[in-house]
């Protein structure tokens, strides 16, 4: 503890998300506290089972907690039953709670 909160706002299909994923993976492997990747806005799109979701599943296996903003999911018509099991829907409060815990917080 306290760990890290990485807020991802970019759809990987737009580019620019790979290095952030890599950062999450390396922080998790360093075991210097819990790591949460919080998906907001278009970053929730690969949380649906798709060609782009494998990367998230791999990240989860490396120990990264992956949450998807339920508001962003609703905006995009993505229901919970379409999410890959490695991604959990969460209210934006979950991001605030992790900030309150003292997680180092980065936005991409």
């Amino acid at each position: 503890m306290p760990g890290y909160l990485l807020i991802q706002s970019r759809d990987p299909m737009e580019g620019g998300g790979e290095s952030f994923d890599e950062l999450a993976r390396s922080l998790a492997s360093a075991k210097s506290g819990p790591v949460t990747l919080f998906l907001v806005e278009n970053a929730v799109l690969p949380a649906r089972k798709s060609a782009a979701s494998a990367r998230l599943a791999e990240l989860a296996k490396s120990g990264v907690e992956i949450l998807a903003d339920e508001f962003a999911l609703r905006e995009r018509g993505i229901s919970r039953d379409r999410l890959i099991p490695e991604v959990k829907p969460a209210a934006i409060d979950a991001a605030v709670d992790r900030m309150v815990e003292g997680r180092k917080t980065l936005w991409n």
């Binding site: 706002s9 806005e41 934006i92 409060d93 605030v96 709670d97 309150v100 003292g102 936005w107």
Partner: protein, 136 residues
Amino acid sequence: MSKQHLNFLLMDAPYEQARTTTGFRMIDAALRKGHDVTVFCYEGAVALAFAKQVPHANAVHGRDAAQEDHPNPKDWVAALLDLAQEKGSKLTWIQCGLCVDERGVGEAVAGTVRGSPADFHKAVEAANNTIVIPTR
């Protein structure tokens, strides 16, 4: 969890990016949980609280201003300031003065204050945590 102090830096101008909405939602959630919040508006984000924003009609869709119900972020800023008061939290909304002057948006909603990047540094030092929501 006891009252904490969270610090947000916003940079995007109004009406442009979803990042602003997400940032506002996080600020709203923090205030609802009873935490104190500092917001430092830098660059285009200083226009979020510009008091002269006006709702407009939509001639293409044949709607007047009331029917269009166009959201203005100055009202969201005012609502967050009201929410803080209701929850017994402190919301300090700082407008970067040089950014304000560059853009001519000096008239901000009541409750905001003018400051400088040095005030952001002070808020970083004082807060329990900070998030910077940058432009791309």
